[in-house]
Symmetry: C2
Subunit: 404 residues, 2 copies
Amino acid sequence: MREMEPFKLLVSQEKAEEIVLENCTPIEDTESVKIEASAGRVLAVDVRADRSVPPFDRSAMDGYAVIAKDTFGADTKEVLLRLDGVIHAGEVSDVRVSGGRCIQIATGSPLPEGADSVVMVEYTEKRGDEILITRPVYPGANVSNKGEDIVEGDVVLEKGTFLTPAKTGTLAALGLTEIEVYSKPRVAVIPTGKEIVSPGEQLAPGQIYDINSYTLLTVLEKHGVSVEQFPVAADEIETLKEALTQGLEYDMVVLSGGSSVGEKDLLAGILTELGEVLFHGVQIKPGKPTLFGIVNNTPVFGMPGYPTSCLSNAYIFLVPAVRKMARLPSVYERTVTAKIGKRIVSSSGRRQFLTVRLEGDVAHPVYKHSGAITSMAQADGYVILPVNLDVIEEGESIEVILLD
Amino acid sequence: MREMEPFKLLVSQEKAEEIVLENCTPIEDTESVKIEASAGRVLAVDVRADRSVPPFDRSAMDGYAVIAKDTFGADTKEVLLRLDGVIHAGEVSDVRVSGGRCIQIATGSPLPEGADSVVMVEYTEKRGDEILITRPVYPGANVSNKGEDIVEGDVVLEKGTFLTPAKTGTLAALGLTEIEVYSKPRVAVIPTGKEIVSPGEQLAPGQIYDINSYTLLTVLEKHGVSVEQFPVAADEIETLKEALTQGLEYDMVVLSGGSSVGEKDLLAGILTELGEVLFHGVQIKPGKPTLFGIVNNTPVFGMPGYPTSCLSNAYIFLVPAVRKMARLPSVYERTVTAKIGKRIVSSSGRRQFLTVRLEGDVAHPVYKHSGAITSMAQADGYVILPVNLDVIEEGESIEVILLD
């Protein structure tokens, strides 16, 4: 058996984040998706309008298409216009509005020739076949002009735009059914550890279920990744090397990690042989035993084996890394302000991630130790305690980053 | 043609929200999903542990399993223990630790019989076949006791829990492969309007593309809904009635709405005939022409036809409604604080929703009018301007609700 040694290459969280981001590059591959499925994706092309919006001068209100000067003075004298017809939504009329006349018009319908404005229905009264106008309008009133919104040929959405529902609607407005977006980064998640067994199988004495590849899978999918979940690889040189080699066909490899120092050393050895270890241990608690390296430009993470550590490090390091690869916005966390439910004394000398359960506006610490399932089962979010923290008194305000 | 009338039953936003929530009831149907697909869903059962976690007393560290009293005084005198074997991860040893002896042990491995504590590898030195202990430990040190985390039979996750990645990991920890969750609410989205054409088809003069059913689809899917997108229904009594009747087979119907007063009156008429209109117009801008009713306990929304109005009302009314039905947490919005990019003067007398584009920490208003596509194409979020607002000066701090 190899000698067991404490961690080497321990770096600060900031340095670790910097190294990770430097070594993760945005995806260049693109694919076509239906616009119904485009929300949450990132545009790989500039989207230009192939026609103007509106495509014609149209009424912005339900009312009557008129010649504005016919209505001047309608607030002080009686103005009656003869009703010459009706334009329903989706209809085009070839009736021309001439002096002293009007046409009833629905919102969105093309303004008939001759008319230059629309009087809202609220400011009219029907009197037989005539319409009483009770407020004057100026030329152009209640009319949306052709190209007022978008002029044909304009770039409406730029390459690199994150597609929200609003932006998906914009694609529909242009009549598109499919759109070119960046492909999702493909990440291989490899659970490792001789003691690790997939859920559904029988546990032998000394074995525990694989937790980390499930939390990693669900966190990564939420952040724009296509995940391939590998079978459990025992932490022996040949098995690990083979799994890692298969994983290198993906855009990133995440080993969801046994928890021991020995195993991390094993992985570090393999990485040093095939590529380069960039850090091995981070000054945060929990989550110190995190390893990062590259092999042929493919980033490789060795995550801490303890579930809470693995999860918090996934939020800290993996999520920003895959979001950069997926070209997703870098700001995405949801935070709430809460009162801490009990006095916290920090003693670690490392930056600390404290999982909390929210009850109304009170955040109750649920962190027992990084191996505890209940720390995870009860966590609604986490609080970052800085390195130089001494104490937080019960009831003090803190910022909780939600785990959702 | 029916007489066109201004809106009736205009209610405040608060009242409208109250009416909507009162008439939307949480889904009772449940279904079984794989745990890999369970994140974002809501537990329909209490999840109990069918075994204790840890299932055995185990080492919490890499180190040496010892009898604690053998190490007492190790900080002041030389304590050497004979190495009797090695327990790797996932292994169980039948070697018993007796006085003056120790066994090397990996994190997570079952504590061998006889031992009551573990000395961390950092506080040891190998001296041939003996181990020098440099710090004493107390009985129980660095050992996780059986059931310390979860006791067999405990409810680990309660019915109604929203499954985050952490909670999905908890299900894996218990060895589950599938889990019973509440079904997604099924919502029928029906685009209406004679002038509305599906993207991909040819536009005749006077026609425009369906935008709203795409924004509604993507917003609703993001909030736990299974959406059925109907073909466009013309705004004529028989066509609308038929589409609505089909829609009533779902848990909710959303008519994505032509924009005219006439059409809204048509829908109100049909709803009054089949069920009940609960409000018809809301005191907000944009989004006034919003209609809500129920038919046989099924909520029916008539959304404003203008895309920006439809979208903002989807966030205001639809999202809380479907989240209640899906049993999802009611707090979900992501907000950022920004400086307003230009002076805003409010003149509406209604509560106003102002779409903004974010550039660093500056929020630039992009709202032109509720028919504008660009208001939507450029919007990163929106700001709520209260009814009694007079003016916001350029550079003042505002809260932006992100549209993502």
